[in-house]
Protein backbone atom coordinates (compact mmCIF):
# COMPACT_ATOMS: atom_id res chain seq x y z
CA UNK A 1 0.00 0.00 0.00
CA UNK A 2 2.78 2.41 0.95
CA UNK A 3 4.48 1.69 -2.42
CA UNK A 4 1.31 2.62 -4.26
CA UNK A 5 0.98 5.86 -2.29
CA UNK A 6 4.64 6.68 -2.99
CA UNK A 7 4.19 5.92 -6.68
CA UNK A 8 1.07 8.07 -6.92
CA UNK A 9 2.78 10.89 -5.06
CA UNK A 10 5.77 10.77 -7.42
CA UNK A 11 3.55 10.65 -10.50
CA UNK A 12 1.46 13.53 -9.19
CA UNK A 13 4.50 15.64 -8.37
CA UNK A 14 6.07 14.96 -11.76
CA UNK A 15 2.84 15.84 -13.60
CA UNK A 16 2.45 19.03 -11.57
CA UNK A 17 6.08 19.97 -12.21
CA UNK A 18 5.71 19.42 -15.95
CA UNK A 19 2.44 21.38 -16.04
CA UNK A 20 4.11 24.20 -14.13
CA UNK A 21 7.05 24.14 -16.54
CA UNK A 22 4.68 24.27 -19.55
CA UNK A 23 2.78 27.18 -18.04
CA UNK A 24 5.98 28.96 -17.04
CA UNK A 25 7.32 28.84 -20.62
CA UNK A 26 4.61 31.25 -21.72
CA UNK A 27 3.74 32.02 -25.33
CA UNK A 28 4.51 34.51 -28.04
CA UNK A 29 2.93 37.94 -27.95
CA UNK A 30 3.50 39.22 -31.45
CA UNK A 31 1.63 42.31 -32.49
CA UNK A 32 1.49 45.10 -35.00
CA UNK A 33 1.87 47.99 -32.61
CA UNK A 34 -0.53 50.54 -34.09
CA UNK A 35 -0.06 52.73 -31.01
CA UNK A 36 3.53 53.33 -32.10
CA UNK A 37 2.95 54.15 -35.77
CA UNK A 38 5.70 56.25 -37.32
CA UNK A 39 6.02 58.48 -40.39
CA UNK A 40 2.30 58.70 -41.08
CA UNK A 41 1.80 60.29 -44.48
CA UNK A 42 -1.47 61.07 -46.27
CA UNK A 43 -0.88 62.54 -49.68
CA UNK A 44 -3.19 63.66 -52.46
CA UNK A 45 -1.74 63.15 -55.91
CA UNK A 46 -3.97 65.21 -58.22
CA UNK A 47 -2.14 64.03 -61.36
CA UNK A 48 -2.94 60.39 -60.69
CA UNK A 49 -6.23 61.18 -59.01
CA UNK A 50 -5.44 59.17 -55.92
CA UNK A 51 -4.73 59.41 -52.24
CA UNK A 52 -1.65 57.64 -50.96
CA UNK A 53 -1.49 56.72 -47.30
CA UNK A 54 1.73 55.40 -45.91
CA UNK A 55 3.07 54.63 -42.46
CA UNK A 56 5.56 52.48 -40.59
CA UNK A 57 4.22 50.05 -38.03
CA UNK A 58 6.48 48.28 -35.54
CA UNK A 59 6.06 44.51 -35.39
CA UNK A 60 7.17 43.30 -32.00
CA UNK A 61 7.19 40.21 -29.84
CA UNK A 62 6.74 40.98 -26.17
CA UNK A 63 6.05 37.37 -25.27
CA UNK A 64 8.20 34.69 -23.75
CA UNK A 65 8.61 32.57 -26.87
CA UNK A 66 9.17 33.08 -30.57
CA UNK A 67 6.41 32.88 -33.14
CA UNK A 68 5.98 33.13 -36.88
CA UNK A 69 3.90 35.70 -38.73
CA UNK A 70 2.62 33.46 -41.49
CA UNK A 71 -0.08 35.50 -43.22
CA UNK A 72 -1.05 39.16 -43.21
CA UNK A 73 -4.07 40.66 -44.94
CA UNK A 74 -5.25 44.25 -45.06
CA UNK A 75 -8.82 45.30 -45.64
CA UNK A 76 -10.67 48.65 -45.42
CA UNK A 77 -13.58 49.07 -43.06
CA UNK A 78 -16.80 49.66 -44.99
CA UNK A 79 -17.47 53.39 -45.16
CA UNK A 80 -20.84 53.73 -46.84
CA UNK A 81 -22.28 53.76 -50.34
CA UNK A 82 -19.40 55.80 -51.70
CA UNK A 83 -17.28 52.69 -51.38
CA UNK A 84 -19.01 51.26 -54.44
CA UNK A 85 -16.76 53.15 -56.83
CA UNK A 86 -13.69 53.12 -54.65
CA UNK A 87 -10.58 51.23 -55.58
CA UNK A 88 -8.40 50.56 -52.55
CA UNK A 89 -5.08 48.81 -52.94
CA UNK A 90 -3.07 48.04 -49.87
CA UNK A 91 0.19 46.26 -49.23
CA UNK A 92 2.27 45.68 -46.19
CA UNK A 93 5.82 44.44 -46.02
CA UNK A 94 8.76 44.28 -43.70
CA UNK A 95 11.25 47.09 -44.22
CA UNK A 96 14.47 45.28 -45.02
CA UNK A 97 17.12 45.09 -47.71
CA UNK A 98 15.36 42.65 -49.99
CA UNK A 99 11.73 43.53 -49.41
CA UNK A 100 9.25 42.14 -51.92
CA UNK A 101 7.49 44.98 -53.65
CA UNK A 102 4.59 42.85 -54.85
CA UNK A 103 2.79 42.67 -51.54
CA UNK A 104 3.59 39.01 -50.85
CA UNK A 105 4.07 38.53 -47.15
CA UNK A 106 6.97 36.16 -46.62
CA UNK A 107 6.58 34.09 -43.44
CA UNK A 108 8.69 35.65 -40.75
CA UNK A 109 10.14 34.34 -37.51
CA UNK A 110 9.84 36.88 -34.73
CA UNK A 111 12.01 35.90 -31.82
CA UNK A 112 11.42 36.95 -28.25
CA UNK A 113 11.97 40.72 -27.84
CA UNK A 114 12.56 41.08 -31.60
CA UNK A 115 11.50 44.22 -33.43
CA UNK A 116 10.81 44.72 -37.12
CA UNK A 117 9.55 47.77 -38.91
CA UNK A 118 6.81 47.19 -41.47
CA UNK A 119 5.47 49.61 -44.01
CA UNK A 120 1.81 49.82 -44.91
CA UNK A 121 0.83 51.58 -48.11
CA UNK A 122 -2.76 52.21 -49.18
CA UNK A 123 -3.72 53.76 -52.53
CA UNK A 124 -7.27 55.02 -52.91
CA UNK A 125 -9.05 56.05 -56.10
CA UNK A 126 -12.66 56.58 -57.08
CA UNK A 127 -14.13 55.88 -60.48
CA UNK A 128 -16.83 58.59 -60.50
CA UNK A 129 -16.18 61.06 -57.68
CA UNK A 130 -13.22 63.47 -57.56
CA UNK A 131 -10.81 63.32 -54.64
CA UNK A 132 -12.00 66.47 -52.75
CA UNK A 133 -15.58 65.12 -52.80
CA UNK A 134 -14.33 61.72 -51.69
CA UNK A 135 -12.44 63.30 -48.79
CA UNK A 136 -15.55 65.23 -47.72
CA UNK A 137 -17.56 62.02 -47.60
CA UNK A 138 -14.83 59.84 -46.10
CA UNK A 139 -12.73 62.05 -43.84
CA UNK A 140 -11.24 59.00 -42.16
CA UNK A 141 -10.61 55.54 -43.59
CA UNK A 142 -9.81 52.67 -41.26
CA UNK A 143 -7.69 49.80 -42.47
CA UNK A 144 -7.88 46.51 -40.63
CA UNK A 145 -4.80 44.28 -40.57
CA UNK A 146 -5.54 40.61 -39.96
CA UNK A 147 -2.49 38.55 -39.20
CA UNK A 148 -1.91 34.91 -38.48
CA UNK A 149 0.64 33.88 -35.89
CA UNK A 150 1.89 30.32 -35.79
CA UNK A 151 3.26 29.95 -32.30
CA UNK A 152 4.57 27.15 -30.14
CA UNK A 153 1.19 26.79 -28.49
CA UNK A 154 -1.07 27.04 -31.51
CA UNK A 155 -2.29 29.33 -34.29
CA UNK A 156 -3.76 32.71 -33.46
CA UNK A 157 -5.46 35.27 -35.66
CA UNK A 158 -5.02 38.82 -34.49
CA UNK A 159 -6.34 42.13 -35.67
CA UNK A 160 -4.99 45.66 -35.72
CA UNK A 161 -6.92 48.75 -36.79
CA UNK A 162 -5.32 51.81 -38.27
CA UNK A 163 -7.27 54.97 -39.14
CA UNK A 164 -5.95 57.19 -41.93
CA UNK A 165 -7.15 60.82 -41.75
CA UNK A 166 -7.94 61.43 -45.43
CA UNK A 167 -9.09 64.96 -44.56
CA UNK A 168 -5.46 65.82 -43.81
CA UNK A 169 -4.32 64.80 -47.28
CA UNK A 170 -1.66 67.19 -48.53
CA UNK A 171 -0.64 67.84 -52.10
CA UNK A 172 3.14 67.30 -52.24
CA UNK A 173 5.21 70.45 -52.69
CA UNK A 174 6.72 69.33 -56.01
CA UNK A 175 3.25 68.83 -57.50
CA UNK A 176 2.11 72.24 -56.21
CA UNK A 177 5.11 73.85 -57.88
CA UNK A 178 4.37 72.19 -61.21
CA UNK A 179 0.86 73.61 -61.02
CA UNK A 180 2.25 77.13 -60.59
CA UNK A 181 4.51 76.71 -63.63
CA UNK A 182 1.49 75.78 -65.73
Amino acid sequence: MSYLVAFLACAGTLSAALALYYWHLGDQNILFDTEAVQDLLVQHDPQRGEIICRCSIPLTNRGEQQGMVNNVFCQPVYCGKIMKGMEIKSKINVVKDKARENGYWESLIVKKNAYFLTQLEVRIRHSTVDIPTLIRQVPRLTIVIYYQIVGRKGIQWKLAELPFPLKDAQVPAELKQEKVVE
Partner: protein, 211 residues
Protein backbone atom coordinates in the same frame (compact mmCIF):
# COMPACT_ATOMS: atom_id res chain seq x y z
CA UNK B 1 40.93 14.12 -57.21
CA UNK B 2 39.84 17.60 -58.33
CA UNK B 3 36.14 18.05 -58.92
CA UNK B 4 34.01 20.83 -60.31
CA UNK B 5 30.62 21.73 -58.84
CA UNK B 6 28.08 23.15 -61.25
CA UNK B 7 24.96 24.53 -59.53
CA UNK B 8 22.05 24.51 -61.96
CA UNK B 9 19.44 27.21 -61.67
CA UNK B 10 15.89 26.07 -62.34
CA UNK B 11 12.46 27.64 -62.40
CA UNK B 12 10.42 27.49 -59.22
CA UNK B 13 9.73 23.77 -58.92
CA UNK B 14 6.20 22.97 -57.75
CA UNK B 15 4.18 19.83 -57.00
CA UNK B 16 2.89 20.03 -60.59
CA UNK B 17 6.38 19.28 -61.91
CA UNK B 18 7.83 15.91 -62.74
CA UNK B 19 11.32 15.66 -61.24
CA UNK B 20 12.81 13.76 -64.18
CA UNK B 21 11.40 16.30 -66.64
CA UNK B 22 12.88 19.17 -64.61
CA UNK B 23 16.27 17.42 -64.69
CA UNK B 24 15.96 16.82 -68.44
CA UNK B 25 15.05 20.43 -69.13
CA UNK B 26 17.70 22.13 -67.01
CA UNK B 27 20.54 19.61 -66.76
CA UNK B 28 20.04 17.61 -69.95
CA UNK B 29 22.38 19.68 -72.15
CA UNK B 30 25.01 19.91 -69.40
CA UNK B 31 25.27 16.29 -68.29
CA UNK B 32 28.33 14.26 -69.25
CA UNK B 33 29.28 10.67 -68.71
CA UNK B 34 30.81 10.20 -65.26
CA UNK B 35 28.91 13.12 -63.67
CA UNK B 36 27.05 12.82 -60.39
CA UNK B 37 23.76 14.64 -60.23
CA UNK B 38 22.90 15.85 -56.75
CA UNK B 39 19.33 16.92 -56.03
CA UNK B 40 18.23 18.89 -52.99
CA UNK B 41 15.90 16.89 -50.77
CA UNK B 42 13.43 19.78 -50.48
CA UNK B 43 12.99 19.97 -54.25
CA UNK B 44 12.40 16.22 -54.46
CA UNK B 45 9.87 16.47 -51.62
CA UNK B 46 8.08 19.35 -53.32
CA UNK B 47 7.72 17.43 -56.60
CA UNK B 48 6.23 14.60 -54.53
CA UNK B 49 3.71 17.04 -53.04
CA UNK B 50 4.99 16.56 -49.51
CA UNK B 51 3.59 19.90 -48.37
CA UNK B 52 1.26 20.44 -45.44
CA UNK B 53 -0.42 23.67 -44.40
CA UNK B 54 -0.11 24.17 -40.62
CA UNK B 55 -3.82 25.06 -40.61
CA UNK B 56 -4.53 21.48 -41.66
CA UNK B 57 -2.60 19.95 -38.78
CA UNK B 58 -4.22 19.61 -35.38
CA UNK B 59 -1.43 19.23 -32.83
CA UNK B 60 -2.28 16.86 -30.02
CA UNK B 61 -1.31 17.29 -26.38
CA UNK B 62 1.85 15.22 -26.87
CA UNK B 63 3.03 17.37 -29.79
CA UNK B 64 2.25 20.56 -27.88
CA UNK B 65 4.16 19.30 -24.88
CA UNK B 66 7.19 17.65 -26.50
CA UNK B 67 7.77 20.56 -28.89
CA UNK B 68 8.42 22.80 -25.88
CA UNK B 69 11.59 20.85 -25.16
CA UNK B 70 13.04 21.29 -28.65
CA UNK B 71 15.35 24.23 -29.18
CA UNK B 72 13.47 27.13 -30.78
CA UNK B 73 15.71 27.10 -33.86
CA UNK B 74 14.69 23.54 -34.72
CA UNK B 75 11.70 22.76 -36.95
CA UNK B 76 10.26 20.44 -34.33
CA UNK B 77 9.92 23.27 -31.85
CA UNK B 78 6.67 23.92 -33.71
CA UNK B 79 3.89 21.60 -32.51
CA UNK B 80 2.49 21.58 -36.05
CA UNK B 81 5.68 20.23 -37.61
CA UNK B 82 6.07 17.76 -34.76
CA UNK B 83 2.49 16.54 -35.15
CA UNK B 84 3.10 16.12 -38.90
CA UNK B 85 6.11 13.95 -38.04
CA UNK B 86 4.06 12.00 -35.49
CA UNK B 87 1.41 11.35 -38.14
CA UNK B 88 4.06 9.74 -40.37
CA UNK B 89 6.43 8.09 -37.94
CA UNK B 90 3.92 7.16 -35.26
CA UNK B 91 3.05 8.94 -32.04
CA UNK B 92 4.39 6.16 -29.84
CA UNK B 93 7.74 6.16 -31.61
CA UNK B 94 8.13 9.91 -31.14
CA UNK B 95 7.12 9.71 -27.47
CA UNK B 96 9.59 6.85 -26.91
CA UNK B 97 12.30 8.83 -28.72
CA UNK B 98 11.56 11.82 -26.51
CA UNK B 99 11.78 9.81 -23.27
CA UNK B 100 14.93 7.94 -24.29
CA UNK B 101 16.66 11.05 -25.59
CA UNK B 102 15.77 12.91 -22.39
CA UNK B 103 17.47 10.11 -20.48
CA UNK B 104 20.61 10.05 -22.66
CA UNK B 105 20.78 13.84 -22.62
CA UNK B 106 20.53 14.09 -18.84
CA UNK B 107 22.63 11.14 -17.82
CA UNK B 108 24.99 10.48 -20.74
CA UNK B 109 25.31 14.11 -21.93
CA UNK B 110 24.60 12.97 -25.49
CA UNK B 111 22.83 15.25 -27.95
CA UNK B 112 20.80 14.45 -31.08
CA UNK B 113 19.31 11.12 -29.99
CA UNK B 114 15.77 12.42 -30.41
CA UNK B 115 16.37 12.98 -34.13
CA UNK B 116 18.09 9.60 -34.49
CA UNK B 117 15.28 7.71 -32.78
CA UNK B 118 12.15 9.56 -33.89
CA UNK B 119 12.47 8.50 -37.53
CA UNK B 120 13.85 10.01 -40.73
CA UNK B 121 11.13 12.60 -41.02
CA UNK B 122 12.11 14.15 -37.68
CA UNK B 123 15.43 15.21 -39.14
CA UNK B 124 14.12 16.12 -42.59
CA UNK B 125 11.00 18.15 -41.90
CA UNK B 126 11.15 21.89 -42.58
CA UNK B 127 8.74 24.05 -40.66
CA UNK B 128 7.08 27.11 -42.17
CA UNK B 129 9.58 29.88 -43.01
CA UNK B 130 12.11 27.14 -43.74
CA UNK B 131 11.67 27.02 -47.51
CA UNK B 132 11.62 29.61 -50.30
CA UNK B 133 8.25 31.27 -51.08
CA UNK B 134 5.55 30.17 -51.79
CA UNK B 135 6.49 27.09 -49.75
CA UNK B 136 7.33 29.28 -46.75
CA UNK B 137 3.69 28.84 -45.76
CA UNK B 138 3.98 25.06 -45.67
CA UNK B 139 5.53 22.38 -43.53
CA UNK B 140 7.72 20.51 -46.02
CA UNK B 141 8.22 16.85 -45.15
CA UNK B 142 11.22 14.84 -46.29
CA UNK B 143 10.95 12.98 -49.62
CA UNK B 144 9.35 9.55 -49.87
CA UNK B 145 11.43 6.62 -51.12
CA UNK B 146 14.57 8.59 -52.07
CA UNK B 147 16.30 5.33 -53.11
CA UNK B 148 13.75 4.84 -55.86
CA UNK B 149 14.19 8.43 -57.00
CA UNK B 150 17.98 8.18 -57.44
CA UNK B 151 17.55 4.82 -59.19
CA UNK B 152 15.07 6.42 -61.62
CA UNK B 153 17.52 9.28 -62.32
CA UNK B 154 20.32 6.81 -63.03
CA UNK B 155 18.13 4.72 -65.29
CA UNK B 156 16.88 7.71 -67.28
CA UNK B 157 20.11 9.70 -67.65
CA UNK B 158 22.82 7.06 -67.23
CA UNK B 159 24.66 8.95 -64.48
CA UNK B 160 25.15 8.50 -60.76
CA UNK B 161 22.73 10.42 -58.55
CA UNK B 162 22.23 11.42 -54.94
CA UNK B 163 19.71 13.29 -52.85
CA UNK B 164 21.22 15.48 -50.20
CA UNK B 165 20.00 17.57 -47.32
CA UNK B 166 22.54 20.38 -47.14
CA UNK B 167 22.24 23.59 -45.23
CA UNK B 168 24.23 26.69 -44.44
CA UNK B 169 25.08 25.32 -40.99
CA UNK B 170 27.54 22.83 -42.49
CA UNK B 171 25.46 19.79 -41.54
CA UNK B 172 24.82 17.72 -44.64
CA UNK B 173 23.13 14.37 -44.89
CA UNK B 174 22.87 12.03 -47.86
CA UNK B 175 19.40 10.55 -48.05
CA UNK B 176 20.08 8.21 -50.93
CA UNK B 177 22.76 7.65 -53.52
CA UNK B 178 23.39 5.21 -56.33
CA UNK B 179 26.17 2.66 -55.90
CA UNK B 180 28.86 4.57 -57.78
CA UNK B 181 28.69 7.67 -55.58
CA UNK B 182 31.58 8.34 -53.21
CA UNK B 183 29.49 9.47 -50.26
CA UNK B 184 32.40 10.70 -48.16
CA UNK B 185 33.58 12.93 -50.98
CA UNK B 186 30.06 14.22 -51.53
CA UNK B 187 29.61 15.12 -47.87
CA UNK B 188 32.92 16.98 -47.93
CA UNK B 189 31.94 18.87 -51.07
CA UNK B 190 28.53 19.84 -49.74
CA UNK B 191 29.71 20.98 -46.35
CA UNK B 192 29.72 24.54 -47.65
CA UNK B 193 26.31 24.06 -49.28
CA UNK B 194 27.18 25.14 -52.85
CA UNK B 195 23.50 25.17 -53.83
CA UNK B 196 22.61 27.72 -51.15
CA UNK B 197 19.62 27.77 -48.84
CA UNK B 198 17.97 31.06 -49.70
CA UNK B 199 16.72 32.47 -52.99
CA UNK B 200 19.47 30.99 -55.17
CA UNK B 201 17.03 28.50 -56.72
CA UNK B 202 19.77 26.03 -57.61
CA UNK B 203 18.35 22.75 -56.35
CA UNK B 204 20.45 20.64 -58.71
CA UNK B 205 24.22 20.43 -58.67
CA UNK B 206 26.37 18.53 -61.13
CA UNK B 207 29.54 17.09 -59.64
CA UNK B 208 32.17 16.56 -62.33
CA UNK B 209 35.60 15.07 -61.95
CA UNK B 210 38.25 17.13 -63.69
CA UNK B 211 41.68 15.78 -64.54
Amino acid sequence: MPVQLIPVQTKLVTPDDDLLEVIREYCGPLLQKGDILVAAETMVAITQGRLIRPENVKPGKCALFISQFVHQDGSLSSPFALQAVMNEEGTLRVIAAFLLSAFTRLFLRRKGDFYRLAGKQAALVDDITGTVPPFDKYIVMGPKEPEKVVAAIKERFGIEAAIIDANDLGRSQILAATEGVDQKLLLRLFKKNPAGNADQQTPLVIVRRTS
